[in-house]
Symmetry: C2
Subunit: 259 residues, 2 copies
Amino acid sequence: MKKQVVKIVKIGGKLIENEAKLLPFLKDFALMQGPKVLVHGGGKMATEMSGKLGYETKMLDGRRITDANAMQVITMVYGGLINKNIVAKLQALNCNAIGLCGADGKSIVSKKRPVREVDYGYVGDIVKVDEAFISGLLEDELVPVFSAISYSEDGQLFNTNADSVASEIARALSAKFEPELYYCFEKKGVLQDPEDDSSVIENIDGAKYQELLEKKIISEGMLPKLQNCFEALEKGVERIYLGDSGLLNRNTLHTKIIK
Amino acid sequence: MKKQVVKIVKIGGKLIENEAKLLPFLKDFALMQGPKVLVHGGGKMATEMSGKLGYETKMLDGRRITDANAMQVITMVYGGLINKNIVAKLQALNCNAIGLCGADGKSIVSKKRPVREVDYGYVGDIVKVDEAFISGLLEDELVPVFSAISYSEDGQLFNTNADSVASEIARALSAKFEPELYYCFEKKGVLQDPEDDSSVIENIDGAKYQELLEKKIISEGMLPKLQNCFEALEKGVERIYLGDSGLLNRNTLHTKIIK
């Protein structure tokens, strides 16, 4: 029997920060048919809030060193402020959202990232996604909205990469569904020329990815995202799309990742 | 057919602030048998966070005037920081919690408190609790943990009295369950003499309540709580208890509110 499609959408930071960008995205998301999941982080808002609180933000190669203060801010900003506002706005758009972090329903279990050269602090790598719990919500026609927070079984919350949260949820749901993964951000896709918004590379397969890597065309922020995509394709995610929210319903110009 | 008992527990602010008090409470809560719901606010932590952010906290007769900044802090502190930490700690105690606010699953709809002498800002009075959604979670053996935030159908989050959230959930659940309401705080119950922790009044009925009111024995903070209790008893809540967390399992000295 053909499995039902489930759409997992990760919304990028720059769409969250600004209500004028967030609302059109949420409208597009609310209009998507069928079972769906939304995943968000909110790094820039967390950095701003840390600043207001007088906490120093430490980044290394684009990754946040998450000390106790940073974890507190992330729990407030991702788990509370962003998550609950997105849920309330989706409700007003007739989308029956439920805002969660990984500790809710034991949905996303992680363990602290091992300390090698760097101690990232309260950063967790995902070890398990509770497929049955998330599927149960989808069967009840709820729309899970996950903040990029996981937890360890001893009760510690962990900051977790939002792209990984999305791809791990997609992989877990492949047991019952046919998952499609959407990475939405402010650009129309992966660009051949970062200065030219229309230079979208429409299809990227493994060979094209290697070519782009060698030619150093892929920007630093896009690298781990694409790596994530190819891993997800290997592990049961059917289709992966990158672009702005137009790709959710309107099939505007975007990038498709293929095996 | 006799309905199943559901226990709705509201945890008071002073038990939340301090991890040394919170953990023993959560252990008692986790040990409670059968379907249960936890409700929390976190006013003092919100006031502290507002102070750190340089926001002024305006209170009137013990009630918070909730402007946009205060609502932002409440969404962060109640909806994120306190809620997600409680959920993670309950998971570590083998209690499968799910942290929610009223916008999640459309569970608690409110409308802005009407402006009479005072405009309380983003303060909502509850108009509807989605009994089917909460019952569904309980049937799936999940333990809902509600922060005292509701929402209006146009997508606005509202600060909402946590005692009222607890009693309204209890009333709504009376359709399918036999609800018991527990107000847990740092005292053993309603005290005859506020200076004497052992002077617990063990039973309060309507007549006793009037007597205590006339003798001005009930403290200011306890007044709306007791008023809430008698309203809840009128509207289908079976039993109401006030005291410290010992009353959840160990049947320690406490106050019982009776018709």
